[in-house]
Each structure stands twice: as structure tokens, then as C-alpha cells.
Amino acid sequence: MTTITILIVGVLFSTSVYLILQRNIIPILFGFSLLNHAANIFLLAVSGDPTGKKAPIVTLLGESYVDPLPQALLLTAIVIGFGVTAYLIVLLYRIYLSHSSTNIEDIYND
């Protein structure tokens, strides 16, 4: 189980970094979106192997539940990430409007 998570994290980080290093603002946006996912899964993985555990809706004490804290932290992180991504999208739009291009080289040599 953890092996799969680890692999997902690795792939997501690699693809996101590759996209962020592109020369166009749209792939960069996609890259940051993937980077968010990558960090989120990393944080979630910290709660350990969920196999054989229950979701943290506690009806009976003494049973084995997954750790609720990483989930709660992640909830906050996802929402914050959403706010920032929304801002990033609009910023990229403004940059596109100001330079009429989505190419990083064009934008910075404008």
C-alpha cells in the first residue's frame, strides 16, 4: 500500500517539476496544480498504512481508526491551495493580457 503511495508521490513530483520548468504559462499552471496534489498525498501518506483501519468517524472507542490529524491538516491545505491556485490562474490571465502571449520568453523580453 505504502509502496503505491510512494510511487504516486514520485511520479506526481516529477511530472509537476517538469511542467513547471516549461516555457509556457499554461503548462506551468498545470504543473503547480500537480505539485499541490503531490504535496497533499505526501502529507496524507504520513498517516500510515490504512489497510484494516476505519475512517475516523468514531462510533466505538477501541477500534482501529486511521489517524484523523493528517486528514484535517490536508483539508486546510487543500482549501488554501485552492485559494492560491485561483489567484495564480487570474494572475496568469492578467499576464497574458498585458503581453498578449503565453510564452515566458516573450513575456520577459517584452
Partner: protein, 783 residues
């Protein structure tokens, strides 16, 4: 009054007068100088009074200032500081008097005189301070004040150049000195000078660290006193108005290095390198200054180089450490103070008369400025070391000591004898030239019409100062009486009585005669060649300094662009690569990779494996697909499958949230893409990397995934600690009143995070609004 208050008033009076001077300059115009003169005389007389009261015994006054940094406002009153205090204030009075008649500024008198007062304060502070840090403090203040004064005529390029050079050289050497001081604290355990001097016999000054302390502090002294290789700033500082030159370069600031060396002498003279360093530097400086002075043709530059030479001489006195020389150090210093101050004042007058600085275009001024001529005559005699002046006695003493030294030590000591003889010859020729060219002969034709006689008053200060040279030169005992009581602990008690005008037909005297003869010869030689020789370009340190500055600018520009700091589009790649490379370095270095435990995929993991596979495949598709639309679809598939993966991780809240957020993000991304024309998308596909660059990007991205994988792997090798989570599961019903532990954590256990989170959302909206409403702010004020 008690000595404490006398001293404090004497030192701080100029500081308090400085703003007063600035304030009254508007109404009083140049007459504001009288306030300054009054101040200087008051300080001088207070110092005189202190001399009487202390009777030559050292005296320390201390107040706490910054005890947290061991800094006290501590002053040491002893022969050395009192002597320098007297010189500073007395010469200050003369200079102010001279400036009163010299300056002709319209609205900046206040500034000028205020700077001078500040300068006087800084120098008084330096010489009286008993605490090394305090010394440094005032030391830097003199640097700043001299920067302001050298650059006073700020719109001239040479003023800027000269002031920058002075500030950088004295500032840098000052910083080095600070290092020495801080090191001294950690080596000797105190900043207190009087304490150090008192313990000089028990202090261990031999060894690497004490020698480093000594060397670092001497660098400060060398910088301030324009010793080789820092000598070049002094001639360039001549851009200042002449009263400043006369104050800076004759009397006071450049002597601070000498002062410091004298202060340190009792502490460090036992160090085997003390003499070597100082004598070498001092005598090289002396020779360079003398040679350059004869090769210069700018009136003030000539004087500056003779100053450099003389400073080397004075420095060398402390290096030789010969008791007879040291006993008369005040005599040497005063000699220089008198003749150099008066010569500078004369130079100012002359430049004012003729309107040029080139000595080769001058001549025959005696009739126009007879008093200045007299002053020059006396001063040049002293500079040349002719009998009857203080300069003669000073030089004789030096020659005698050096010969003595050479006879007993041999070897390199003879080189120093040669050095002093050569410099004396050059100085002799320069003095001869100075007086002859300026005041003898006829007035050059092209100057005849523009000449106008200087006032009587302005000629008075140089004449008085120059007369002292003769008076004390003929009656050295007089000076001895005057300076009686200025005992310097660890160095000497003043015994000038045995100084005599005539020592008989000794070797030094014969040498003096030879020097005079050779000096005349040198002069004649140069006169024949019409003074056409210049200082060789490759030996001009000031051009080297300026080239160095330019080189620094070029170097930094190259470095700046080599590091691609000027390329905004490259920041991201550089920073990410750096982070990734560093992290992988750490991991390879620190994490024992062999201990990784592999967790095999079992049957119950099949759903997770499928979802994971989809996530991986589609995230790779985001990279590899060509069309933006396809990429976006792939991206949202990844997003939605991640919410399924959250389900596997038993996180229903997260799954729901992720799904919903993914939808809203998708809407926003679609909105963005809908606003960008399709043609743009196709065109932009061409702008991806090729070749080596692509491989580097690939490497960095793969490495980044690898790093995070390894880190996570390591974390999960041991079962993770879940202290907080266990508590939350335990208490969610009883204390937080809800069975959904995730929700209770979010709103109750860690509700504060949620408050922050919604604030972030609102602020992000504000940011978006700000972006979508283009601000047309007031253009000229928007910065």
C-alpha cells in the same frame, strides 16, 4: 572645576557648537567663524588648564555607555592625548581664522564650519578615548567628517573621486582595525587602553594572535596616516577647500595614525615584528612621498606627497623604538605640524592669487604677498632641514639614531640610512623649488593682469605658524619647557632641555651638509629639464585604485549575468534545480539507503493499485500530450482519481472536498483557457526545450520525484508516530461533541487553522479582484 568637567567640556564643546554655527551662518555669514575660533581657543585653554592640574600624571574618566557591549565612555588624560588635544585645538583655531578670510561661499558657510567643528570633535574624541571601541568610534567619525569636507565642493568630479577614495581607504582600514580591536578583546580580555598599558609588562604580546591584533590595528593606523600602500588617497583628498587640506593633512587627521601607533607602542613594542613592520612601511612611505613630491607639479599635490613622506618619517620613529628618538617624538610632530599647516595656507593664498594649481606657471609673487613669502621661506627651511629650524634638529636626531642603529645592527639598517638620505635630498630639492618658483623670479606674462594682492589677515596664520619653526628651532629648550609635564606612560618623560642647536661637527651634521649639496644638485638637474618628469603611470596607486573600482564593477556585472540574476525568466529553473540537487545530495549523504524496507503489494491493494496506476498514467499524459485541452482533461482525471485515492485512505471528507475543489478549479481553468485564443495554443507548442536543455530538465524533474520518494519511503519504514491523532480519536466524542474526528479537529481542536484558512480564501478573492480591476493610479506618485 574638576578635571572631569574640564575635559568633557573641552571635548564636547565643538560638537555642541557645530549646530549653533550652522544655525547662525545665515545671519552672520562668514563671521560665524569667530564662534568656531572661540570654541577652539576655549577647548585649548581648558586642555592647558588640565595639563596644569594633572601635572603629567595619567588620569582616567569613565562613564557607562553600553555596558552590554563592554563599551564605556572612557577618556584617558595623559601626555600623549593632551599634546594631541592641544595641537588639534590650536591648529584648529588657526585654520578657522584662515578660513574666515579664505572662504567665499554664498549659502554654505554654515555647513562648512559645522563640518569643521564636527571634525574637531571627532579628532579630540579619538585622542582622548581610553577605550579601544571608543577610539574606533571616533576614528570612523573623523572618516565621515573628512568625507564630507573633502567632498565639500561636491559638484566637482575630483571632489567626488577624492572623497570616495578617502572614505573607502580609511573605512576599509578602519574596519580591519575593528577586527583587531575585537580580537584584542578576546585575546587580552579588555578594551581598556590604560589597563593594557598598565599591564604591559605582564601582557603576552608574542605569538600568532597578539601579533595579528597588532598587525590589524596597525593597518588602521597606516590607512589613516596614508602609509604605503594606502598613501594614494591623501593627494586625491586635495580636492577639498584649502583650509580643510591644511587641517586634515598637516595638523590633525593624518596624525591620528601616528597617534595610534604611539598609543600602542608601550603595549606592543615587545613584539618582535613591531619594529620590522613599522620601520619598513614607514621608511618606504617616506621615500615614495619624497620622490613623488619632486615629480608632482600640482601645488597641493606636492605638499600632499611631502606630507606622506613626513608621515612615514614620524611612523618610523616609533618603529625604531630608540629612546632618544621617542623622547622627542612631540618635537618631530610639531615640526611637521607647523611647517605643513603654514605651507598649505600659503598654497591656498597662492592658488587664489594666480588662479591655477600648476606650479610651473607661477613665479615672482613675493612682492604681492610678502608675508606669505616669509612664511614660505621659514617653512621651506624647516622642510629642507636647514640649521636654525626645528626641521634641522629633527633630522639630525633621526640621522644620528639611524647611524647608531646601523653601526650596531648592520645589514638592513644601512638601507634605512640610505632611505632617509635619499628622501631628505628629494625634500630639500622640493623645498627649494617650492620657495624659488613661487616667490622668486618674475611673474609669468599671462598672469600679470589677473593678479590681485591677498589681504593682510589671511597671511597672518601661516606667518605665525612658520615663525614658531624658527623660534623653537633656535631655542628648543623653550619648547621643552612648554611641553614639560606631558609624560607618556610607557614611553617617556619630556626632557627637551638637552636638545641643542649645535651638536658640533658630528657625522650627522656632515651628512646634512651632503644632503643640502645633493639637494641643490637635484634641483638644478630638474630645473634644467623644466620639470617635465611625471610620476610614472604604473606607480600611481590612485589610478590603480580607480581601475580596481571599475574592474569591480565589471566583475560584478559579469558575475551578475553569469549567475543569470538579470534574467527574470530563468529564476525558477535555477532555484528548483538548486533545491533538487541540494536535497538529493543530502539524501545520498545522510540517509542509509540500504536500510529501506520494501512493502510488497498484496491482494487487498488491488483497488489502490488501479487508482494509483491511473493517477500515474494521466499525470504523465499531462506532460506528454500536445493539446492543451487533452492536458486539461488528463489533469482533471488525476484530480478526481486522487479523491478516489483519498477514499482508499479512509478519508471521506477529503474525498468530497477534493472532488468539489477539483470541479471549481476546472471551471476556473476552463475560463482561463477560453480567454486565450486557440491559435496561440498551437503556436506555443513549439516553445519547448530541445536537446541538452531538455535532458537537464528531465533529469531535474526525475531527481525531484526520486528525492521525495526516498524521503517518504524512509518515513514510512517505521510506523509513523500518531500521538495527536490518537488523542483526537479518543476525545472527539467526549470533549468535542462530534463523532467525525476530522471535522472536530478542523472546527474545534485546531479551529484556529480553519479561521486562518477562510481568511486566506477571502484575501485570495481580494487579490483576484485587484487583478481583474486594472488600477490606474496617479502615475507620478505611484512609487
Amino acid at each position: 572645576m574638576a578635571i572631569e568637567s574640564l575635559l568633557l567640556i573641552a571635548v564636547f564643546l565643538p560638537l555642541f557648537i557645530a549646530p549653533v554655527v550652522g544655525f547662525f551662518a545665515r545671519s552672520l555669514s562668514l563671521n560665524v567663524a569667530w564662534i568656531g575660533i572661540g570654541t577652539a581657543i576655549t577647548s585649548a585653554s581648558l586642555i592647558g588648564r588640565i595639563i596644569k592640574l594633572t601635572k603629567g600624571l595619567p588620569f582616567v574618566i569613565s562613564y557607562n555607555w553600553v555596558p552590554a557591549f563592554d563599551l564605556q565612555l572612557s577618556f584617558l588624560v595623559d601626555g600623549l592625548s593632551l599634546f594631541f588635544g592641544l595641537v588639534i585645538t590650536c591648529i584648529g583655531a588657526f585654520v578657522l581664522f584662515y578660513a574666515r578670510f579664505y572662504m567665499s561661499l554664498k549659502d554654505e558657510n554654515g555647513r562648512f564650519f559645522a563640518y569643521l567643528m564636527l571634525f574637531m570633535f571627532a579628532m579630540l574624541g579619538t585622542v582622548f578615548s581610553n577605550h579601544l571601541l571608543l577610539t574606533f568610534l571616533f576614528w570612523e567619525l573623523t572618516g565621515v567628517a573628512s568625507f564630507l569636507l573633502i567632498g565639500f565642493l561636491y559638484n566637482k568630479p575630483e571632489s567626488q573621486k577624492g572623497s570616495l577614495m578617502a572614505l573607502i581607504v580609511t573605512g576599509t582600514t578602519g574596519l580591519v582595525m575593528l577586527l583587531g580591536i575585537l580580537l584584542a578583546k578576546s585575546v587580552f580580555g579588555t578594551y581598556d587602553l590604560s589597563l593594557l598599558i598598565a599591564q604591559r609588562d605582564s601582557l603576552v604580546v608574542v605569538g600568532a594572535l597578539p601579533t595579528a591584533v597588532m598587525a590589524l590595528m596597525l593597518v588602521g593606523a597606516f590607512g589613516k596616516s596614508a602609509q604605503f600602500p594606502f598613501h594614494f588617497w591623501l593627494p586625491n583628498a586635495m580636492a577639498a577647500p584649502t583650509p580643510v587640506s591644511s587641517y586634515l593633512h598637516s595638523a590633525a587627521m593624518v596624525k591620528l595614525g601616528i597617534f595610534l601607533t604611539a598609543r600602542l607602542f608601550p603595549i606592543f613594542s615587545h613584539n618582535p615584528y613591531w619594529g620590522d613592520i613599522i620601520v619598513t612601511v614607514g621608511f618606504i612611505t617616506m621615500l615614495i612621498g619624497a620622490v613623488y613630491s619632486i615629480l608632482s607639479h600640482d601645488l597641493k599635490a606636492i605638499l600632499a606627497y611631502t606630507t606622506v613622506s613626513q608621515l612615514g618619517f614620524l611612523m618610523g620613529v616609533y618603529g625604531l623604538g630608540h629612546m632618544q628618538l621617542l623622547e622627542h617624538d612631540f618635537f618631530h610632530i610639531l615640526n611637521h605640524v607647523f611647517y605643513k599647516a603654514s605651507l598649505f595656507m600659503v598654497a591656498g593664498i597662492v592658488i587664489h592669487i594666480v588662479g591655477t594649481k600648476d606650479i610651473r606657471k607661477m613665479g615672482g609673487l613675493f612682492r604681492i604677498a610678502p608675508f606669505a613669502g616669509m612664511a614660505t621661506l621659514f617653512a621651506c627651511m624647516a622642510m629642507a632641514g636647514l640649521p636654525g629650524t626645528m626641521g634641522f634638529i629633527s633630522k639630525e636626531l633621526m640621522l644620528e639614531t639611524l647611524l647608531h642603529n646601523a653601526q650596531s645592527h648592520g645589514g638592513i639598517a644601512w638601507v634605512w640610512v640610505g632611505t632617509i638620505i635619499m628622501s631628505a635630498i628629494c625634500l630639500f630639492a622640493t623645498s627649494l623649488r617650492f620657495f624659488k618658483t613661487l616667490f622668486m623670479g618674475t611673474v609669468p606674462l599671462d598672469l600679470k593682469d589677473s593678479l590681485h594682492a591677498p589681504g593682510l589677515w589671511i597671511q597672518l596664520p601661516p606667518l605665525v605658524l612658520a615663525s614658531c619653526l624658527i623660534i623653537f628651532g633656535l631655542n628648543p629648550e623653550l619648547l621643552g619647557h612648554a611641553l614639560a609635564g606631558l609624560t607618556v606612560s610607557g614611553m617617556h618623560a619630556i626632557k627637551m632641555s638637552h636638545l641643542a642647536l649645535w651638536h658640533g661637527l658630528t657625522t650627522p651634521f656632515l651628512l646634512s651638509l651632503t644632503i643640502s649639496g645633493l639637494g641643490v644638485g637635484l634641483y638644478t638637474l630638474f630645473e634644467r629639464k623644466h620639470w617635465q618628469m611625471e610620476i610614472p603611470k604604473q606607480l600611481r596607486f590612485d589610478t590603480a585604485f580607480n581601475n580596481g573600482l571599475e574592474g569591480l564593477a565589471t566583475l560584478s556585472k559579469r558575475l551578475h549575468s553569469w549567475l543569470r540574476l538579470d534574467q527574470s525568466q530563468d529564476y525558477l529553473g535555477i532555484v528548483i534545480s538548486y533545491i533538487v540537487l541540494m536535497s538529493s545530495g543530502f539524501i545520498l549523504y545522510y540517509l542509509p539507503l540500504s536500510t529501506i524496507r520494501f512493502d510488497w503489494i498484496r491482494l487487498e491493494h488491488i483497488p489502490a493499485t488501479v487508482i494509483g496506476f491511473v493517477i500515474c498514467v494521466f499525470s504523465i499524459a499531462v506532460v506528454t500530450q500536445k493539446k492543451w485541452t487533452t492536458r486539461l482533461i488528463a489533469l482533471s482525471v488525476v484530480g478526481f482519481f486522487i479523491s478516489f485515492y483519498f477514499v482508499i485512505y479512509r478519508a471521506p471528507d477529503l474525498a468530497l472536498t477534493q472532488m468539489l475543489i477539483e470541479s471549481v478549479s476546472l471551471i476556473l481553468m476552463l475560463l482561463l483557457l477560453s480567454k486565450i485564443p486557440k491559435g496561440m495554443a498551437i503556436k506555443e507548442e513549439a516553445s519547448v526545450y530541445t536537446g541538452a536543455k531538455k535532458r537537464v530538465v528531465l533529469l531535474i524533474s526525475v531527481l525531484s520525484g526520486f528525492v521525495m520518494m526516498i524521503v517518504l519511503w524512509f518515513l514510512l519504514s517505521d510506523p509513523p508516530a500518531t500521538k495527536l491523532g490518537d488523542y483526537f480519536i479518543d476525545k472527539t466524542n467526549s470533549l468535542a461533541g462530534g463523532s467525525n474526528a476530522v471535522n472536530t479537529v478542523v472546527v474545534d481542536f485546531r479551529g484556529f487553522d480553519t479561521m486562518g484558512e477562510i481568511s486566506v480564501l477571502v484575501i485570495a478573492t481580494l487579490g483576484i479582484l485587484g487583478l481583474l480591476m486594472r488600477w490606474q493610479g496617479p502615475t507620478e506618485e505611484s512609487k
